[in-house]
Amino acid sequence: MKKRNSLASGSVSALLASLLCILIGLVIGFICLVALSWANAAKTGGDLSNVLANAWKSGFKPILMGGFFMKPIGIGREIASAAPLIMTGLSVGFAFKTGLFNIGAAGQYTLGAFGALFCAIVLKMPWWACLIGATLFGAVWGAIPGLFKAYLNINEVITAIMFNWIGLYAVNTIMYGGGTGVMYDAKATKTWALRTSYPDAVIPDLGLSKYFMNRSTTIAIFLAVAVAVLIYVVIQKTTFGYELKACGNNKEAARYAGINEKRNIVLSMVIAGALAGFGAGLYYLSGVAEWSPMNSTALPGIGFDGISVALLASSNPIGIIFSALFISHISTGGGFMNASVFPPEIADVISGIIIYLCAFALLFRVALGRLSGKREKEKVNVNAEPAPTAEENGKEGDA
């Protein structure tokens, strides 16, 4: 009985913490919307009830409803953007389990995009082979910070940030190729549209696009969910996952146990990179957008959103599926806000606030854990001898 309680309380507190930051984020978002709507009312006239109604109807409601605000296109859009988000979330979450902070998901994602488009346009491969290509390119880009970390003890965050930019500009330069790159469609100032020029390379939709009336809704989401489940199994059920977590929790103890921690650091980064690269493949091979080498001077936001997705889910692969869907939900909803009342940027601001609060998920979790832990301990104290606290290294029971 006791066992089940405490086990459940761990994951419940994690879930509660995540829900709590979403709630707080939404409240703050609503306050922002009211403030903006109020500023708007000062210009055009209108009383308080008007202000609130406006904030709700043209701002908050679309955000809450997300893709459902414009069925079924919106839902399709939401699902399409969730798939790569799940992958970058997994990328960051997987590295977290090994005690590494993969801030390089954006760069690995960029390389994955290059790999996918290169395989599609230059090598004219079918979609599944292009996905493998994207995965490999991402893996290589993940391996570099991993190698630096394992063998030269250089912090992976620094290397990864550098390689984010190196990756971005290298990809841009190669694709643009002075305006005459093979992959570059000079008229559109983007890479060639796969759907029209290389239809074989587009991930099949099995009728999803018809159902959602949205061409970019493909089976990518199912692939992403399948990978998430796979990663869950690897982390929880295999000796490899056991080793990775041991390295992440206590590197020295892992070494003592004969685990090759250097190899595990590299492998963990390789897999993280592969996951991010796969995500880019899902995005670009679904034909959601084309790469624009002239305008892509910032790293893809999906890479960084992966950090929030992972944090919001406490790095649990199954949780990442839902947190990615949620983030995609509110950002899709943001696109449906009334642009005449709220500047389009406000959607980003609000999802930004929620994502920012996601970073506190861990904090809330610790606080919740402490609350429930206190209750538990008090209960124990009533009918048992005092249990030693961990810090005290207390000693009891040998008598």
């Binding site: 929790n249 207390g394 000693k395 040998d398």
Partner: protein, 510 residues
Amino acid sequence: MEEYVIEMLHITKEFPGIKANDDVTLQLKKGEIHALLGENGAGKSTLMSVLFGLYQPEQGTIKKNGQVVEIRNPNDANDLHIGMVHQHFKLVEVFSVLDNIILGVEPCKGGLLQKAEARKKVVELSERYGLKVDPDAKIEDISVGMQQRVEILKMLYRENEILIFDEPTAVLTPQEIDELMEIMRGFAKEGKSILFITHKLNEIMAVADRCTILRKGKYMGTVDIKNSSKEELSRRMVGRDVEFAVQKEESKPGDVILEVKNVTVPSKLHKNNAVKNVSFQVRAGEIVCLAGIEGNGQTEMIYALTGLTKQSEGSFHLCGQDISHTSIRNRSKSGMSHIPEDRHKHGLVLDYTLEQNMVLQRYWEPEFQQGGFIKFGAVRQYAQRLIDQYDVRSGQGPITAARSMSGGNQQKAIIAREIDKDPKLLVAVQPTRGLDVGAIEYIHRQIVAERDAGKAVLLVSLELDEVMNLSDRILVMYEGEIVGEFDPKKTNVQELGLYMAGARKEGAEQ
């Protein structure tokens, strides 16, 4: 002199879920040495922290000379002339002795330091109590024993009348311990009152006038040492009779299991070698102990032997097989078990459950995995067997988080895991560090049982009692070299102490 200088009456201090002190009373007479005895986690440190102003008690009063006082922080304690030598010294390494002593109470005139006056006072104090401290030496250049004297001088400089010593002998050689006892007696004669925290019974018998005993946060009484015995103290502390002498037969050494040849290990702290050209053997069925003061190369020696670092020269042979350059996993496979010095750093993954820790070295064996998938049922069963067999106690059995277990049970878990591997060589580094007499007794019995089962045991210990009681052969290490080999039956603590301090050295014996 029946008047109490400090009275702590009915002190209760609670932490979430635990009463660290439950109605504890401690009365300190003027000019006495008062020992505070208890197992780990019995609440000694908490009680002293209350007296020193680090914690506020929920209940109870503190009186000084009969007056109720409130001690809200260490400054209040200092104003009441209460001083403390902490277990881990609080000194600035790169400062001189004098600078450390005056730190916080610097004599100033017009914003300028007036060191000359301070120096006079320090030298005077040092001479008066025979502390022999050089005020201009840098802390990093002087021995641990000297550093402790600097801490003592800090208390004297602040004119403290009540001196608290928190496990002061843990880091000292036997000779240094004797000198410290002498110094403490000197203080008592001068009318200073001393509170002496320890769990070493011999020291209490030697130096204390009275002793207050705590068990699991509760007050177990105060006894006059004159009318008491070691046995009585330990019974009150643990709650049952404890055997001090390790029961063991004569050892019957067999084949050479471990052969260490000319091993040199570079130091991570300085440019010199930590281990210099060391050779020795361990045979089946004997316990060989590497004795020495902390930091004389024992740790590095064991790291090299177990594969955690690389030796720069020399070789290790386990059962005739050269393992000098093989991986940690291979050494473990060839029959080496390692009870590490630091159970939190190396021994356990604290965020793993007990069962996950129990297979830390064996999860890859076919018994526990198939095709890369962990057999959770087998792991649970195995952990349960070890828990039952070795009496590892925890809140929730196999799924207890290792972090939440008591130190003694964490150590028992490691010992169960290492012994159950059925090794040929058991390397045990300070296996009883920080544990109390009950757990020590148990662990010693396990180690002797391993020896009797024909295993070779290499023990590293800083505790001379353990060295003398447990080993069949003692190798003393000093500054990275083995300076002497002894039969524990033919030597004594004093002799070992001289070798450990580097005062004597054997020429050719090994």
